[in-house]
């Protein structure tokens, strides 16, 4: 199936209009010696064949395991209305709203999404979104370097280890120095961070809750940074923002995060949603698209892309970022999700998450040999130490239908016996109980 509507007669007529006899004549600018050396692509298939092939592939994935894996990406409930509304093709078959008259739907939705993000984070303004939480952190980092004219960045050990790897690979060809400040008992180590700050430090990057699930009040770090002309970037978990001290409250300069938990399926890693919000002061340093509210010729309220002079299509090599698209449809999803849940709904999700996580902590802690790390408060994710290699335990648990958590040895050598367990509102008391019972049984074997 090639989705081409031309009949033979129409094609002939169109070729005549072009003054050629065949389609291949239109390609005469391609030199004969540059014809493809090969084009070994299988012949086309019907919709029925293709659908059944993908059904077969989908069945090979263990998406049905009872999921306690998080690490910044969570199995939250997505109300049916989200898919129904995002599935309207007026949204998903449109492109960048360059022509505001035919894009008021997308534009107003993004403006409202920006408002959601500002309200979640208590920041002054947000952009229309970036690719994902990791690249958003990288963009925030670039923004801080440019705003301060300095070249060093301090990265707290509580930041997602994958994000850390992203930051270092992007800057390999640039004069940027990263200092990683390891956590102490799961907490951001104030002394180490303060010691590391010097006059060439552009920013300190923090995460709340940390990768280990620990929640913190970073106010003191922000204060110290600002006293030294250093900007603070904080990566936050948006669901937790319903309950936790916000970046805006503690004076953070750039707030970023992964928006997946706001109605976006786990989908094996993407597409996701990087959100970014900042202060008025840094507004024009912010990368990415921004939608503004204005009036039209007749004085009617209207929405348009704005602050575009910072962007690549105008500033070219001097742009704040090379980013062109946003994650439009994912931002729309997040906005629909937040509109449906509303103020109380998001709080309820957050409360269910912490209640169920508290129950899971209690249940797991009762298992002989299992120790829940309790020195620090957590939100919906926590670290446990097991009496043996966590990877092996996970392997045995998978066979019994559980994805019991993320083994940390993969990211932190020396932490092979540690498991990071996440609990969302979707997990039931029964599932949590079964997790504990199965784990106990596996450990007894």
């Amino acid at each position: 199936m090639s989705y081409i509507p031309h009949t033979d007669e129409q094609r002939e007529e169109m070729l005549r209009t072009c003054g050629v006899e065949s389609i291949s004549e239109l390609f005469h600018d391609i030199p004969a010696e540059l014809a493809p050396e090969s084009f070994n692509i299988p012949e086309g298939k019907s919709e029925i064949e293709v659908l059944s092939y993908f059904e077969m592939l989908a069945e090979q994935n263990y998406s049905h395991l009872t999921n306690f894996v998080g690490g910044g990406f969570y199995d939250h409930f997505i109300p049916s209305a989200v898919d129904a509304l995002v599935g309207r093709s007026e949204f998903y078959t449109a492109y960048t709203p360059y022509q505001p008259e035919v894009s008021q739907g997308t534009l107003q939705a993004i403006y409202e999404y920006q408002t959601d993000i500002c309200r979640l984070t208590d920041m002054d303004l947000a952009n229309a979104s970036l690719y994902d939480g990791g690249t958003a952190l990288y963009e925030a980092c670039q923004m801080a370097l440019r705003a301060t004219g300095r070249e060093r960045v301090i990265l707290d050990g509580g930041v997602n280890p994958v994000y850390r790897k992203i930051l270092t690979s992007y800057t390999a060809n640039l004069d940027i120095q990263f200092t990683i400040s390891p956590v102490s008992h799961g907490h951001s180590d104030r002394d180490k961070i303060f010691d590391a700050i010097d006059t060439d430090t552009a920013a300190v990057i923090l995460q709340n809750p940390s990768f280990f699930g620990i929640i913190e009040d970073h106010s003191d770090i922000v204060q110290h940074c600002h006293d030294n002309g250093v900007l603070v970037i904080q990566s936050v978990y948006p669901t937790a923002m319903a309950m936790l001290k916000t970046p805006g409250e503690i004076g953070v300069d750039i707030a970023v995060g992964e928006g997946q938990s706001l109605g976006i399926p786990l989908a094996f890693g993407g597409p996701y949603l990087g959100f970014m919000a900042t202060t008025k002061k840094l507004a024009r340093r912010m990368p990415g698209r921004v939608v503004g509210r204005t009036v039209d010729r007749d004085g009617r309220e209207a929405f348009v892309l704005t602050l575009q002079a910072r962007e690549q299509h105008i500033r070219r090599e001097k742009a704040t970022s090379n980013i062109c698209t946003n994650q439009g449809l994912c931002a729309l999803r997040a906005h629909i999700y937040l509109s449906l849940l509303g103020k109380q709904g998001l709080l309820d999700v957050a409360q269910l998450c912490i209640d169920k996580a508290a129950y899971a902590r209690e249940r797991l802690d009762m298992i002989p040999g299992v120790e829940v790390m309790k020195a620090s408060p957590t939100f919906n994710e926590f670290t446990v130490s097991l009496p043996m290699d966590a990877g092996e335990v996970v392997g045995a648990m998978v066979e019994k239908g559980f994805a019991p958590g993320l083994p940390l040895g993969r990211f932190y050598p020396g932490m092979e016996n540690f498991l990071l367990v996440a609990v969302t509102e979707k997990r039931t008391k029964h599932e949590i109980g079964m997790l504990a019972e199965t784990l106990e049984a596996v450990l007894c074997q």
Partner: protein
């Protein structure tokens, strides 16, 4: 009319020197080709700049333009009024729409008279 009481850079800045202080702005041609100016990023007072350095940015809806310092010196004053009302540069580029002032001026870049600047515009 391009005022003949000052010198011009071919990158469309003007420099007027009075009592060893140089005032810098952009020309009427420059403001006109940028269109409605929406934002000005000013340099920092006390900053040392060399001739030809990019030291300010002027944005309109469809364009952004770097302002190059027409001379070497120290930024002694910036026109914060244009930060709040950037349209002043559109309305009065040679007067209230000035951008910054320079002290301790040393070398100036290649600057031309009003006549030469206009001639150059015609040939552009």
């Amino acid at each position: 009319m391009t005022p003949d009481d000052r010198k011009y850079a071919l990158t469309h800045e003007w420099l007027m020197i009075e009592e060893n202080v140089g005032t810098v702005g952009i020309t009427d041609h420059a403001q006109n080709s940028l269109g409605d100016i929406t934002f000005v990023e000013l340099p920092t007072v006390g900053e040392a700049v060399k001739k030809g350095d990019e030291c300010a940015v002027i944005e309109s809806v469809k364009a952004a333009s770097d302002i190059y310092s027409p001379a070497t010196g120290i930024i002694s004053e910036v026109n914060s009024a244009v930060e709040d009302s950037p349209e002043t540069i559109n309305k009065d580029p040679y007067g209230d729409g000035w951008i910054f002032r320079l002290e301790n001026m040393e070398e100036a870049g290649e600057l031309v008279s009003a006549d030469e600047y206009e001639k150059n515009l015609d040939s552009e």
